[in-house]
C-alpha cells in the first residue's frame, strides 16, 4: 500500500488551515479532557493489575522458589519459626514471577500500586508486614472509570471510593511429597537432611545387600510425614535421585 501524496495547491492549504482552526476552537469550547485529579480522585483499575504482594503465612511451605526466581534479587527469606519471604521494594520490578512460582498460592497480588514509604529502610518489607494490605489514609473523594465504547473514550466520575483488594488465585496443584527414585544410589552425604527446613528427612541405618547377601552396613534416607513438598532436597541432592510426587 502506498502513502498518498500531499497536494501543494493553495486551495488545499487553505482547507487545511481551516481544519486546524476548527479543531482548536472545538476543543477550546468542548474539551475532550482525560485528566484525573489525583489524589482527590482515583481510577478504578482492573483486577489483574500487578501491585503490592500479600503473603499468607499459613499456606507458605518455605520452598524458596520465589527467592530463587526473582530476576531482581528482591526477595530475602527471613527466619521466624520457619523461613518466610520478605520483599525489598527498592529492587522489586513487579514482574510477579514469584506469585506465579508459588505452588500453594501463598503469595497473592493486590490492586494497591501507589504505596509510599517514609525511608529507605522501610522499603524492605518483612514477612509479618506483608500479611495484609498496609493501612491507607484515603484522600480521595470520588472514583473515575474509563468508559471505552465504539463511540469514543470518556471518563465517568462516581462518588464512591475505589476498593483496593487482594486477588488470590490458587494454583491447581495437589499437595506433593518428596520421594527417592533410586535408594541404592544414595551416597549418604546427608545434604538433603541438612537443607530441609522442616526436618522431615531422617537417616536410618540399613544393611547393604548384594544378590540377597548382606555385605555391609550403610544408611539410607527416609522421608517422614513432616514433608510438605518444598523441593529443596530435590535441588540439593548431588546424585539427583530425589523427586516430587503428588499425594492423594
Amino acid at each position: 500500500m502506498k502513502v498518498e501524496k500531499i497536494s501543494r495547491s493553495p486551495l488545499e492549504e487553505l482547507k487545511r488551515h481551516v481544519g486546524v482552526i476548527q479543531e482548536a476552537f472545538k476543543q477550546a469550547v468542548i474539551p475532550d479532557r482525560v485528566t484525573i485529579e489525583y489524589p482527590r480522585e482515583r481510577r478504578k483499575y482492573p483486577e489483574n493489575l500487578r501491585g503490592f504482594i500479600v503473603l499468607d503465612k499459613s499456606r507458605c511451605i518455605s520452598c524458596f522458589r520465589c527467592a530463587q526466581i526473582c530476576p531482581a534479587n528482591a526477595i530475602q527469606m527471613s527466619y521466624f519459626e520457619n523461613f518466610y519471604p520478605g520483599i525489598d521494594y527498592t529492587k522489586c520490578i513487579f514482574c510477579h514471577f514469584c506469585v506465579e512460582s508459588c505452588p500453594t498460592g501463598a503469595l497473592a497480588s493486590s490492586t494497591l500500586h501507589d504505596m509510599a514509604f517514609k525511608s529507605l529502610e522501610d522499603m524492605k518489607v518483612k514477612p509479618n508486614q506483608m500479611m495484609r494490605l498496609p493501612a491507607t489514609i484515603r484522600e480521595d473523594v470520588q472514583s473515575v472509570e474509563y468508559d471505552v465504547t465504539k463511540k469514543g473514550w470518556r471518563l465517568i466520575r462516581k462518588m464512591e471510593l475505589e476498593d483496593i483488594k487482594v486477588v488470590r488465585i490458587l494454583p491447581k496443584l495437589k499437595p506433593r511429597r518428596a520421594f527417592c527414585l533410586e535408594p541404592e544410589s544414595c551416597l549418604g552425604c546427608r545434604q538433603c537432611m541438612e537443607v530441609c527446613p522442616h526436618e522431615a528427612i531422617v537417616m536410618e541405618r540399613c544393611e547393604i545387600t548384594l544378590e540377597g547377601q548382606i555385605v555391609g552396613k550403610g544408611c539410607v534416607l527416609k522421608i517422614t510425614e513432616k514433608c510438605v513438598g518444598c523441593g529443596l532436597c530435590v535441588r540439593q541432592c548431588p546424585m539427583k535421585i530425589l523427586s516430587l510426587k503428588e499425594v492423594e
Partner: protein, 409 residues
Amino acid sequence: MIEMKEFHLDIPVEPPKELESLFLPIPREYVEDTYKKDEFLVLVGPQHPGSGHMRLIVRVKGDIIQEVIPDPGYVHRCVEKIAENRLYIQNIPLVERPSIMDSANFNLGYVRAIEAAMDIEVPERAKFIRTILAELCRIGTHLYDAAILAVFIGHTTGFMYPFGIRELICESLVRMTGARFTSSFIVPGGVRRDVDEKTLRWVYDATFAIEKRLKSFERIFIKNPTVIARLRDVGVLSKEEAIKFGVVGPFLRASGVEYDTRVVEPYEAYEELTWDIVTADEGDGYARFMVRVNEVSQSLSIIRQCITSMPDGSYISEQIGEVRGNFFDKFADIVLPAGEYTTLTEAARGTLLFTIVSDGESNVPYRMRIVSPGWLYLRGFMEALKGERLADLQAIYGSFGYFPPEADR
C-alpha cells in the same frame, strides 16, 4: 541565482576551550581544521531540549550542516553482559527494558530464539495473543515517536494528543497482562495467562475509540500546513542511499523499498491475517512520518482480525503445561543445547536481531547478542543530515524516531 564569492582571511583562529575539556571523540586537528575553514562546531549535547540522551557534534557553515558526528553511549547499561549471569527466564524482564514501549517485540524475539533452540511448539491461541501484544506495542511506539517529532518542531498539542491516545493502549495492556508496559508476558511455549472474552471485547472497542481520537490528531497535526512545510523535502534519502547505508524498518519503506520481516520470514500469526506493507516514494521526513501513521491503522486492523478469529485452545504448549504454580519447576532450569540460535523480529522501528550462544551445559546463556534497529539506522540518519539547515536537525531527528536507550542497550 547570484554566485557569492568567498574570500578567505588568514587570521590565526583558536578553537574554544570547552571543546578540549569535554571528552569529545574527535581529534584536535579536526577542530582546528573546522575553525580555519570558517565553519564552527555546535554541540547539541545531552543537556539540550532537543537532543535525546546523546550528543551530536554538528559542523555548521553558516546555516548549512556539513557533517554530524554522533556521540551515543550515554544510556549504555550493559544488557548483554548482565544477561550472561542470569537464568534464561530471568533475562526476560532484562531484554524488554531497552525499548520500553516496544517491550513485547523484544520479548518475542528473545523467546522465539529459546523456542527455536529447544523445539517447543506454540499453540495457535498463544500465537494470536502474542500477535495482539506485539501490535499493541507497535502502535504505542509509533504514537510515542509522533509525539517526540511534534515537540521537536514546537507543536505542543501534537505532543499531548498521542500520549493521551497511548493511555488507551496502556490500559489495554493492563487488562490483558497486568502491567502497563514491559509486561514480561511471553514465555517459552506461549503466554503466562489466558485472556478471557470480556477483555478481548474491551480491546476490540478500544481500537475504535483510538481511531476516533486519531482523527482529531490528524486534523490538528498531520494535516497542519506548518508541519508539512517543516517536514517536506527535508532529509531525503533515495532508494539506493537507503539500501547502501543499511536503514531498516519504516524508514527503509519510506524510501520505496518493500521489505518487512513479517512478510519475508513470517512468524506468529502474521501469515494467516490480511494486511499490507506501507511504502512511500519520496524518502523525505514527511514520508517517514506518514508511513508510521498508516502502519498504525494497519496494526489496528490486524488486532481486530486477531480478536474476531481467535482460535480456542490452550495458551501454553503441552510440553510445559499449566504455568500458575509451576513457573519455577518448568522454566528455571532450562538448558539450551549447544549452538548458536538467531531470530529476526520486526520491532516497531525496524529489524531486531537476537542471537543466543549456548554451551550446552549451563543454565545461563554463554553469550547473548542484541542488535537493535536504532543502532542499524544511525548511519543513514547521519547521512540524511548533510546539506540541510541547522533548524532541520531536530525535524530529521524526530522523523527518524531515534531512541537512544534502545540503540545503546
